[in-house]
Symmetry: C2
């Protein structure tokens, strides 16, 4: 178990750690990665600006820059993520442990906040987070809520994650997470899944199903898979992301994302 | 007195209203305008992403688009602002009532939240806002807090607005405004002006001085003049802004910017 973001980044950089970052460096921010060629960066930045709930940007690099400044001091985007997925024309083509040979001068990296940050806040508020209790990936669903278009990113449906609560705890969870606008904020919907176009709550589009107990209601939050979906739909010649669960671990603390 | 954003925008469009929008369409969002040629848009968008407190973007147009969608339905950026300033190479060259003859296919408009929105919230919380009481422009100061660089926008000092309160009310004002991260959020500093590089609080760099009473402390908020200053320092060939106080008035309500 690594205690700090710097510790685990060092181990990842040396490829001593190539597994999921879940549960590591407790309290430190973990972020989703998206790397795009320079001529796709404007459209993606605009898409994120117009869709802040599913696309909470926490750091954007200069063109060609691979060192982080804001969420970690001198993190290296080419090496400090345990496992990368390479997408060509929107299709996954390869999985690699570093980008040393793949890095291009025109690459722009985007780091996006992830729900790990607000799940910590939910736990701290004494709420049970079902996917954590059951040791599963959070269930995620494609909805009929459409994102705002931006450039070549068009007709993108919002993907949401779901956590079940009693109605009272769902209200509490909404209260807690609205203080975290930088990491998805308050739920986009609480209650009937059909209202946001989800036909069968027991078969998520991504992740694992979790138990919804008698009397519980599902609460849905905008999810960071949305921008990945946007990019896969737009099919840029090249896109690089983290492998699911294999995140960038920062120096700053989750709680710093609270207002 | 116009009651709604749509009413005053119609009057402005016909050039029946060419004055300040201050106090008009109470409760409706008012926004700062910045228009840049397309090849400057990425740098500005990135500057705003990296400096959200002074640059709270509320809507960004597609390249060449002049109709608004988000903060107002079908507002026309070319005509719905009472008075525009034209800057060439960072220097003000002209003042016009509309952009009908000046609009270019590559223009990108940026609308930014303004402190009018959180001042409403302060008043609603029962706090006195001194510049409103005294009927003056809020005093603004150039500080030694440096913005994060982005592209050609480098070495830009943050500009702040100042409102004085008793220490207790300053804490209250901070509490109220932190719920408005989309319009500058909580203060960047409360107390000794020298700590943020302000030499003489009685001579603001922009706006008017206001009375600071015995026992009061100054509270400083990031200010929308910062991005204007960034643009003037970077000297793009062309930039268009609203004339001070002559804002874009939206349909949505100030309170919708609260979390």
């Amino acid at each position: 178990m690594y205690k700090t973001g710097k510790d685990i980044r060092n181990a990842i950089r040396k490829e001593e750690w190539t597994s999921s970052t879940s549960g590591q460096a407790g309290g430190c921010v973990q972020a989703n990665l998206c790397i795009l060629p320079g001529d796709w960066a404007y459209d993606f930045l605009l898409f994120a600006q117009r869709n802040p709930k599913p696309c909470p940007l926490v750091e954007v690099g200069d063109r060609g820059e691979y060192l982080t400044k804001q969420i970690a001091d001198g993190g290296d985007i080419r090496t400090d993520i345990p496992r990368y997925y390479i997408y060509k024309d929107g299709v996954k083509s390869e999985e690699v442990l570093n980008l040393k040979d793949l890095w291009q001068d025109d690459f722009v990296y985007f780091l996006l906040g992830c729900s790990f940050s607000f799940e910590q806040a939910l736990l701290s508020a004494g709420l049970e987070v079902r996917n954590i209790t059951e040791g599963r990936n959070v269930p995620m669903y494609i909805t009929n809520i459409m994102c705002r278009d931006a450039g070549r990113f068009v007709n993108v449906p919002m993907v949401v994650s779901m956590r079940p609560f009693t109605p009272e705890n769902a209200r509490k969870a909404a209260e807690v997470t609205r203080f975290y606008p930088a990491v998805h904020g308050s739920p986009v919907h609480i209650g009937d899944p059909a209202e946001i176009g989800i036909k069968d709550i027991s078969t998520p589009d991504f992740g694992d199903p979790v138990t919804i107990k008698e009397g519980e209601v599902p609460a849905f939050w905008a999810c960071g898979v949305t921008p990945q979906m946007a990019v896969m739909m737009a099919r840029p010649p090249l896109m690089i992301s983290h492998a699911p669960g294999h995140m960038f671990v920062g120096d700053i603390q989750d709680r710093e994302f609270g207002i």
